[in-house]
């Protein structure tokens, strides 16, 4: 699956995008976030407070129970501040 990071999540993680193959058992957004946090201190710090992390799967807002699968584009970003 393709992961995208924006704003301070991008700078803290140090990546704008990457392709990943999570281990079996990662079937929801919540499980994906748990796995990402285990990948290193940058991920753990960026994803420590989920109240300031928004998730979009295939460009639609979703919550942590939403399923994820191999072909998905999943974006992680802070609450939006446009306008």
């Amino acid at each position: 699956m393709k992961l995208l990071y924006f704003a301070w999540l991008r700078t803290r993680i140090g990546l704008a995008e990457e392709r990943v193959e999570p281990p079996p058992g990662v079937g929801t957004v919540g499980q994906l976030l748990d796995w990402l946090r285990s990948r290193g201190p940058g991920f753990a710090a960026a994803l420590a407070d989920l109240s300031v992390v928004r998730v979009a799967v295939n460009q639609d807002y979703v919550d942590v129970d939403h399923p994820v699968s191999a072909g998905d584009e999943i974006a992680l970003f802070p609450p939006v501040t446009g306008g």
Binding site: F6, A7, Q59, A75, V80, T81, G82
Partner: protein, 157 residues
């Protein structure tokens, strides 16, 4: 119509194009968001902003703006509508966003213009990075923007 662009926009030209050829339109409401030099950080002694950089999520930005515009057209009878949102680096005084709605009557134009801005602020994937003499900082989302979006009832669909 929606547009996401790096370039500045010309408000007069955009509003003229919006109403051109449609003699049913009785009024146009518009909102122009500008880069202010006042930092968003709560500390009273924050230095003025030198520049603002807007990051966005290409693809999702256009999809969300189109959704928001479609929702406005479902709620009000509009003859025309326009959302232009810029991205990239801009300086105080420059326009960031232009929203305009045209209708037979002013009530629909005023209300839908405010609705578009309120929903855009909380749903369109843009992020502001402020640059001051002390460095660059990401702007935090405000609860008051969330409250402004929520006073419009959720989509009927």
């Amino acid at each position: 119509m929606i547009r996401v662009q790096r370039e500045p926009f010309d408000v007069g030209r955009e509003l003229a194009a919006l109403t051109e050829g449609n003699r049913r339109i009785g009024g146009v409401a518009s909102f122009i968001g500008l880069v202010s030099d006042i930092a968003s950080a709560p500390s009273g002694s924050a230095p003025p902003i030198g520049a603002l950089t807007l990051e966005h999520y290409p693809g999702m930005t256009e999809a969300k703006l189109a959704e928001i515009e479609a929702e406005a057209c479902a709620r009000w009878v509009l003859d025309a509508s326009l959302i232009i949102h810029r991205y990239g680096r801009m300086e105080p005084g420059e326009g960031i966003v232009l929203v305009a709605t045209a209708s037979r009557h002013r009530e629909a134009a005023f209300a839908s213009c405010q609705f578009l801005m309120d929903w855009l602020k909380t749903k369109a994937p843009f992020w502001k990075l402020e640059e001051t003499a002390e460095g660059a900082a990401w702007v935090a989302a405000r609860d008051s923007d969330e409250a402004a979006a929520e006073r419009w009832s959720p989509p009927s669909a």
